[in-house]
Symmetry: C2
Subunit: 324 residues, 2 copies
């Protein structure tokens, strides 16, 4: 059915190889011939078959993008930016949702391997060992992760986390809870470390709670433990956790920020709507940067280093001085 290079060759009276060159190495074909071929191609509605081309060139023009949960509002802006940026270089993006499960993640990457030139791993839950193993098949760029030897884009949550703790300390909070996220999350590790250091610096006592599911349910479920600590403020792994917590507190008759201050991480649209103080993550910039690194790695084969993007605190209405 589809019109192939052969049809174009026949229609324009040249060999298929000439047609091929017209599209992939135009300078090798005579201007006049090229015009004839292009006219025929256009008239027939010819479009090169990327899969077939990939067979010889070993370039599919596709990129993979692996995320833990598309429905987590942290990801869509990154996906969107990455995709738009990839499209500008004539690359398509395969988006895959791993459902936060390492096993699914691995399987998706494996089955995607032959169809992409490279992949972005965002907030991967895989072990470094597995990542390294897989990276033999597919060139990776990771986001918010630091497997040794792989190019990475990092949204350095530490800077924002320090600002958050400082902000809370400045408001007068002396007992702050940290609702941590998945153990395997690089962001979580950094968050924990930075928060602990900064708490120490300000003489704030930090109660670590977790790991929690990085979802609203996780945040809601953490409420009892949190209340038991006597903390007057909470810093959550991400906005979903923060909002889950806020919801649960409200349904227990507690007011935010009057009874308890809450800070999230990610600065999702939802946080903005809910007037949540949060750490802004430059997701769109990270998406673009990651695509840049990946394309550079693919085309020139070099393994470019690490890009670190700063984060910063956005103060909104969910934080206030402690009650009493």
């Amino acid at each position: 059915m589809a019109v192939t290079i052969k049809d174009v060759a026949h229609a324009s009276g040249v060999h298929v190889s000439t047609v091929s060159r017209t599209f992939s190495a135009a300078h090798l074909v005579n201007a006049e011939t090229r015009a004839r071929v292009l006219a025929a191609a256009h008239q027939l509605g010819y479009r090169p078959n990327r899969a077939a081309r990939a067979l010889s060139t070993r370039r599919t023009g596709n990129l993979g993008l692996i995320v833990a949960d598309i429905a987590n509002p942290f990801f869509p802006p990154l996906i969107k930016a990455a995709q738009a940026h990839a499209r500008a270089s004539d690359h398509h993006v395969f988006v895959a949702d791993t459902d936060e499960q390492a096993r699914v993640e691995e399987e998706l990457i494996r089955s995607m391997a032959t169809q992409v030139d490279g992949a972005l791993l965002v907030a991967s839950r895989l072990s470094n060992r597995v990542i390294n193993e897989l990276s033999a098949d597919v060139p990776f760029v990771v986001v918010n992760r630091r497997p040794p030897g792989l190019p990475a884009v990092l949204m350095d949550v530490a800077s924002g986390a320090r600002q958050a703790v400082e902000h809370l300390a400045g408001l007068g909070h002396r007992e702050v809870a940290l609702l941590s996220g998945p153990r395997a999350s690089w962001t979580n590790q950094n968050l924990e470390r930075a928060a602990a250091e900064e708490a120490e610096r300000h003489g704030v006592r930090l109660h670590r709670l977790g790991p929690n599911q990085p979802t609203e349910e996780g945040g809601a479920a953490a409420a009892p433990d949190l209340l038991a600590t006597g903390a007057t403020a909470a810093l959550a792994y991400n906005d979903l956790v923060a909002l889950g917590l806020v919801g649960e507190l409200r349904s227990r008759g507690l007011a935010v920020p009057d009874d308890l201050s809450v800070v999230g991480v990610d600065n999702t649209d939802t946080a903005r709507h809910c007037d949540l103080t949060t750490v802004d993550m430059p997701t769109a910039a990270a998406g673009r940067a990651a695509i840049d690194l990946l394309l550079r790695r693919i085309t020139s084969g070099d393994a470019p280093g690490t890009v670190t993007l700063d984060t910063r605190l956005i103060v909104r209405g969910s934080t206030a001085p402690p009650a009493g």
Copy 2:
């Protein structure tokens, strides 16, 4: 580099065609041989090259999923459900974001055409003519659209819209504004029609405003016109528009729902967080149903009909009786 069928053939002492059959028509190969081939394949870490396979079979095992805006929280649950469902049938999903632009949408579909077996068009902005033209190249299933002759999954916003108007009328509102969305949106057309009918039935005057951008900015921008109408309640094209409106009203010193009731459409997570009354759209179910239709269409070639899913109003705190 990658291990191919040839390597497996060599390692197990059979012809490549036997290896091929082991994977795609196992019953044609002797049990003993099959075991040997599988062992070799496993040991070498062989994975069939889908792109190469696609060349002969004309089946890529990939599906396209075209959405207007991944960052609109309406889409991710649908994407997620569709993808999980597709994966269960060993299909991959190409997600593409059109940025609400018909031109981009068309181009994406065209360049995706050779790499997918079929595609889901969600809330397409293309004209029926273009959709039909493209559907010669790619089997489509559309969501929230009714191009004649194409299988469709419809989330019937009309039922929810009627409930919404009835709800507002019941609260005592007599002047309701409708903040409509993109002209090309099937959902918008249905919403307008159903709201108008139901308003008529309840003696409510409906002020149509729009078309508005289906974003928060669009909602915010509509505030002045809305206030000029003297309406005491607003029904918005979607939750984003509703929330944009709410934000703008608040910044003008107006309270929701005390001064004005607002109803959204989609029942996104954001709406839930913001306590917005809204029409629930069964996005996950629609995603699954659409994949079902698409796979059926692809495998058995028949063009199954239309699936309609009902919507219903979720009453929350953004609606109340009119002031005074």
